[in-house]
Amino acid sequence: MNDVGQSVEITVDGRTVLANPGELLIDACERTGTYIPRFCHHPRMRPVGMCRSCLVEVDTGRGPALQASCMLECSPGMQVDTESERTRKAQAGVLEFLLVNHPLDCPVCDKGGECPLQDQTMAFGPGESRFVEEKRHFEKPIPVNDNVFLDRERCILCDRCTRFADEVAGDALIHFQGRGSDTEVNTFPDEPFSSYFSGNTVQVCPVGALTAAPYRFKARPWDLEEVESTSVVDSVGSRIAVQSSRDCVLRFQGVDADAVNWGWLCDKERFIFEAYDHEDRLGTPLLRGDDGDLAPTGWGEALAAAAAALTDVDPDRIAVLGGARLTNESQYAWTKFAKGVLGTDHVDAQLGDGLPADFVLGLPRATIDEACTPGGIIVLLGPDPKEELGSLYLRLRHAVVHDGATLIELTPRATGLTPFADHSLRVRPGEAVDVVRAMFGEGGTAPIGGVTVEEAQAVGAIVSGAAVGQNRPVTVLLGRQSLAEAPGTVVDAALVLHDWIADVRFLSMLRRGNVHGALDLGLAPGLLPGRVGLDEGRPRFAAAWPTTPATKGRDALESLRAAADGEVDVLVLLGADVLTDVPDHDLARRGLEGAGTVIALDLFATPTVAAADVVLPATAPTETDGTVTNLEGRVSIVARKVTPPGTARPDWMIAVELARRLGADLGISSPDDVWAELSVVSPIHAHIDPEALAVQAREGILVSGGPALVRPAPLEVPSHDKNSYRLVVTRSMYDCGVLTAHSRSLAGLAPVTRLAFEPTDFAALGVAEGGRIEVRGPRGNIDVVVGPDSRVTKGTAHLLFNQRGVSAGDLIEATAAVIDLTVVPV
């Protein structure tokens, strides 16, 4: 046994090598320049010693013997020979064995050219096979799910895909079946590998056995060009490799950023590029003509129309919504244009589905690594990470399942993490703060929020005791648990946690792509770039910008209300599909109708865009250079790989051009210019510049610091009426959002939603599953399809947002703290 923390001296091919304690021989060799062939070994999964191709001669004092270097921890004095006659013969022999049943169909195999089996056979193989018998045969590729195909003949049984499914994703829906030469990977009959993470198996398969539909037969690896970039599908900021051929993106692959995604992607991150390439992308500006129809036009006319609409308008009558899709640079340009040129503070990148920006920025922040500290404590007071932030879910699951972290859930409905939670407190919507108070002994003895006081106190003992006593860091994952609850419910609960738990940190779960960049760069009411309030920042910005707003403006919902009341002359939408994404659909409709001129920058003709007066086509992340900021505050590079469709332009360029037409110079002629300016106006960004980012491209650069904690006024929640059901509205990984709907591989995966009740509640309704009932809510009576769901809590009813079936947005009233539904008797 080695002393912990001491490096281990071993000899590899006569050289002395220092291995880290516990390091596997194969890794220590690779790190120091000696590559040992391998198939099953994967740095992010536990060793299994399945393929035997990593055999090397090792002498640990008992004479040299062949050992699998992926199963062997380095021990002091180990003598390793990776080049001996015996090693070479063993490696060649194993490769010959692996090829016994492997078809020689490389010319028609997608893996050809990037195939570890091909490469290692060339480098370490025998050059010739002595096997002349018939190889085994299977039906050529079978679908294991809608997107992943399995060609069992090519499989070398390395156990990577199956280990990934079980160990990493927790979806053990593919498994070895049979024995010996009849072994195959397969699903249970008629039960597909329905996993949000299935694409990773394709990436880790060392042969062409697993292929993904979007890439099959599309390209040869030597025709691919690649840049490293960051995924902006959600706010995790997973690192990706964008691969293209002939100016067309063909594949996203996960890149192993140690601080972020560990090489994994969820299928949404992986396959979303299909939407960027979609033929429905907007490629020319559109202008509403005298006939009332949107018609294609040139940039000159479109920009002139937009600029004319913005000329001589009272800033108080301009609102800018959206912008979470934009790069940091575009966000800065738009903040500068809106707040510094137009002078409006009615700017909000969130669409009523997030949390107050100043509140999020004032909380002490955690990184993903801090949240996943081995042995740490994780409190989930937010949405289901498996549905909303796929790669974060994998990190959290790893922390809890493999690294001894303790998970506590305070959610209204079971989540993807529930099976691993130490305590799952089901909290009735609106009552999270009461439950959290009860945890720390502040509250009555009656059951609160669907939780007993004893349960709550048991949890309180874990989180508070741990934080002080045993050096176990506590991280709260914070986000909107339900779109049918006002944000105040989690804000109030978060404040209690903040006050009771020493050194607690928060990881924001706001989910939209670059929403954290938007907060950091001032696309939120009352904020200026650099996480500062208007008053604090004004002196600095007064020097750099033509103007700054005098008072804090409206958030998105307030702006829509003002628009509905005819108080908004110009509504600028930065990739904001308000009709779909604002939880309160009625408000969104009225706001859009009541607004004067609507200027929309977007990738697609969404329903909202169809109602705009000026439509400006913007570039997608694969067509834009810049950076984004993830939920930790990590800034990393987004790289342009292909040309945008038609004449679509980056969002920052549109801001610059509009400003110019209004007689202002934003001083930005490239994304890099933004960093030069930020280094002056935003101290929190001062350590970042394009050179530093290029050096630290993979892990990105963290932004930290922020304003003091703000304490919004507590939310008044009406008490729960026993005869009503409190509505919970959550999101699922795939929905009817414009990007998912335009990804061929993902569009079909969106579920149909129905109003779901806890099974005994459902039985009491006396309706058949799939039947219809009428419910009364704040928006009147609605006829809905219903069903039971054991993940739902008693006294609540659940819907998925933005899905076919029932339109949750038609039930939500944005001013209500919670939505109570009563069943209308027939």
């Binding site: 079980d166 979806d171 053990a172 829906l173 593919i174 498994h175 070895f176 079946q177 049979g178 024995r179 397969n186 699903t187 249970f188 009959p189 039960e191």
Partner: protein, 219 residues
Amino acid sequence: MSFFTEANARTAAEVIARYPRPRSAVIPLLHLAQEQEGWVTRDAMVEIAELTGATPAEVLGTGSFYEMFRFHPVGRYVVNVCTNISCQLLGGEELLHHVEESLEVHAGGTTADGMFTVEEVECVAACTEAPCFTVNYRYFHRADPDTFDAVVDDLRAGRSPLARGAQGDDGNLPAHGTLGRLRQHIPDDRRAGVVPPEQADQEPVWLRTAPSTTSAADA
């Protein structure tokens, strides 16, 4: 609708309780399922998965490693005829031929009445008694077509053929899948300390010396 009969569901619960982790019961429950139906059905695997917290794919994956779990229907009696070297030299192939002809079914098939499944197998480790065949894994040594016919006559007449077999055991020859005539019941106090290994804070019950066993039982 559950797969296991009421009695077997009770047995399943008891078996699961024997292990620190429910998943460990997958193989015993596959046996139980095979005992109930003669083979392991799809419904059985789905239910075992539910009971043990595994996925159906894991249950099938685990079970299919073992040749003696059957995932397709088999006859009440599974006849294995050895044609490996010793048996082959002494007439194993002729014996198989006779079995196929007399039962009118090819190796791998099942008779129309569902009584017999015939399989050609590799050495069953009775080479000194070649040629041999087994019925539901009971051996019949130095067999010839007459031995086989007599066994079939017995079975069709509802008599046990075991007296003709290797063991000289004249009990019943139960249907395929039956594991044993007795089922073991382990009282709570005799269980070998059912806690997950990482939570075990004392030696297992079966290692303990007499006095502490008593005190554990008293507790």
